[in-house]
């Protein structure tokens, strides 16, 4: 029966389109996820989250098939229980959309497997997360399809699920936009959520028809036969939803790693071992920093966020743990090494420049602007030249100074740049505070 539905379901026309759409979302966003396990599965989970609206609409559409074909009356006296008639179409929609998600995950998995970095244990959580969203969408669509069963069912289910899923994603972490290495998914929570979603599909199937036309035609005996399983499924779904709510978000900050990946001698930069693909880029930045003239003081050590410090949220309040004694931290957001060079540049400037200790904390507008220009040069120099891969809200003279600094890093020999930068630092330190 299921095979007949799989072969005949209109979802088979949606399947190639939705698969192409999912793959396009995976590859035409960014590629930094290739080579980092949690980022890989999070990136492959994301299309499922965005296209789950189609799954909800398809579920609503398929449950309304008897109404579309005008066979409601013919199906009512059938000896086969209603739930057995409803399971194949809902299972078909589920199968097609789960298949899409698994294909996308398999392709992403294959690309990261080529380098096989550490951290493969972080991969399955996001896969389960994506499947949970699909199950929830199908359950939602099935209920809406049963409630409306008219021409508006699929449209309402798709649009409403789009809003509901975005709310669940934003507020309850049912979907994530990325999988940074300093986070992990709690296995128990994601599995309970998946079970809860499957239970909700069962509940959606077990629910009696809301439409008066069908309800009136069903005998009391048939309804009573449904009472016990319906109650069991309802209780199971309610319990699982309650447990899900108690467990909270599955996204948790990881414990400090036992082993870290460190590069450099005078300037030591330590990061998560899962980020080994950035090792050579970070080594380049460290080597450039170690070549800087003596006026630039190197802070000693930098840690990637989470390696030695991670912000904790306790009962909805950020736990501002004392960070004294810990090295400064940096991120590699979206695979950007500019974030590291920016952090290193800021920290080097902090220890190299003698800032004013008293208000107004300024040595004059022009002197401060020249310091900004030097910092922008340092950031661009450490990054290896080019233009920053991020946008800032700087404007006016501050933006112009930063632009001049970046341009200087792209012109002239290294010796000339060092001479210019050394002069700038000396000049700033010699200037007096206002």
């Amino acid at each position: 029966m299921l095979l007949i539905h799989v072969k005949r379901s209109p979802v088979r026309w949606i399947f190639p389109v939705a698969l192409a759409f999912n793959l396009a979302m995976l590859f035409f966003r960014n590629r930094y996820w290739i080579g980092v396990w949690p980022e890989t599965s999070a990136a492959a989970q994301m299309p499922a989250y965005l296209t789950s609206g189609l799954a909800a609409a398809a579920a609503a559409w398929s449950v309304g098939a008897p109404h579309r074909h005008g066979t409601v009356e013919q199906k009512l006296p059938l000896a086969v229980p209603r739930w057995r008639r409803e399971v194949p179409p809902v299972a078909t929609v589920l199968l097609y959309f789960v298949l899409i998600s698994l294909i996308v995950q398999a392709i992403a998995f294959g690309l990261t497997l080529r380098t096989n970095p550490p951290g493969i244990e972080l991969w399955p959580g996001y896969v389960v997360m994506g499947l949970t969203v699909i199950c929830l969408a199908v359950a939602f669509g099935h209920v809406v399809g049963k409630a409306l069963s008219g021409r508006f069912a699929a449209a309402v289910a798709g649009l409403a699920w789009f809003i509901v899923s975005m709310y669940l994603g934003s507020q309850w972490d049912f979907g994530v936009v990325s999988g940074p290495v300093y986070n992990e998914l709690d296995t128990l929570t994601v599995m309970v959520r998946l079970l809860g979603a499957v239970a909700l599909i069962s509940l959606a199937v077990a629910l009696p028809n809301f439409l008066a036309r069908e309800r009136a035609a069903v005998s009391r005996r048939t309804e009573r036969r449904w009472l016990r399983p319906a109650v069991v499924v309802t209780v199971a779904a309610v319990v699982l939803c309650a447990v899900t709510a108690v467990l909270g978000s599955p996204v948790k900050g990881r414990e400090k790693p036992a082993e870290v990946l460190c590069v450099g001698v005078r300037l030591k930069v330590c990061m998560w071992p899962e980020h080994q693909k950035y090792q050579s880029a970070v080594e380049d930045i460290v080597q450039r920093a170690e070549r800087l003239p003596a006026v630039f003081v190197l802070p000693g050590r930098f840690d990637e966020y989470g390696v030695s410090y991670q912000m904790r949220v306790v009962d909805g309040v950020i736990d501002l743990t004392d960070r004294s004694g810990l090295p400064p931290y940096f991120y590699i957001p979206d695979g950007s090494t500019w974030a590291l060079s920016g952090t290193v540049a800021t920290e080097i400037m902090k220890v190299s420049l003698r800032y004013c200790a008293k208000a107004p904390f300024s040595k004059g507008e022009q002197v401060d602007l020249r310091a900004n220009e030097t910092e922008a040069w340092l950031e661009a120099f450490l990054a290896g030249g080019g233009r920053p891969d991020y946008h800032t809200n700087r404007s006016g003279e501050a933006a112009a100074a930063a632009r001049r600094g970046e341009e200087r890093a792209n012109h002239g020999s290294e010796a000339e740049q060092f001479a210019w930068a050394g002069e700038r630092v000396t000049e700033y330190n010699a200037a007096s505070c206002l």
């Binding site: 035409f28 960014n30 609206g53 449209a155 789009f162 809003i163 979206d334």
Partner: protein, 206 residues
């Protein structure tokens, strides 16, 4: 029925319209912040277009000019009423400039729904807006408050390209319904005769 569905969406608008949702996007930051009204506006077009569905669709497609005229008239009336209802609700909830953005969105979505209705049938008209919505959010967002030129739901109100895109979609959707099989056949026959006549024209004297 169509107006009732739009009325239900209008009732939801004050509660969901201002909520900002974080959604994955292809832009620099990888995330788009999408207000609820941009999503609900896509649904405002469902009512009037889906209302045109009829179980007698196949028989109706064989009817003459008068029936089609009535059907398109009802669609135009319904669409205008629903758009006006949604626009006025937005005007009350968000104010003038935002309501105009909503109106531009409805114009574009209406065209998309009409196009999908022409290609897939009235009943599947929702496929157009529901398929375009994730594309608009995902690829239309280029950065914080920066959108692709064709993103007709979020670009500034004075952006001509966004208005042209929305109007173009509406024209495309409405135009698709003017091309019925008889008109198409007439056009093909006309072009074929013209081509034959041109090919038979004797060569001009040197």
């Amino acid at each position: 029925m169509g107006v009732a569905l739009t009325g239900a969406l209008c009732a939801v608008l004050p509660f969901v319209g201002s909520i900002m949702f974080s959604v994955p996007a292809a832009g620099d930051s990888g995330v788009a912040s999408v207000p609820g009204w941009r999503i609900i506006a896509a649904g405002a077009t469902f009512g009037p277009v889906l209302f045109c569905h009829s179980p007698f669709g196949e028989m109706e497609s064989a009817t003459g000019r008068n029936w089609r005229r009535v059907q398109l008239g009802v669609l135009a009336l319904n669409a205008t009423a629903c758009s006006l209802l949604f626009f006025l609700t937005s005007l009350m909830v968000f104010g003038g400039p935002m309501a105009l953005l909503v109106l531009r969105g409805i114009i574009g979505w209406m065209g998309t729904a009409l196009l999908a209705a022409r290609l897939l049938g009235w009943r599947a008209a929702w496929v157009g807006p529901l398929a375009l919505l994730p594309i608009m959010i995902f690829w239309g967002t280029e950065g914080p408050q920066q959108y692709a030129w064709w993103e007709f739901t979020a670009r500034p109100i004075d952006d001509p390209a966004a208005w042209v895109t929305a109007a173009g979609l509406l024209a495309l959707g409405a135009g698709a319904h003017l091309v019925d099989r008889w008109r198409w056949r007439a056009a093909v026959t006309f072009l074929r005769r013209r081509t034959i006549r041109l090919s038979r024209r004797p060569p001009s004297a040197p």
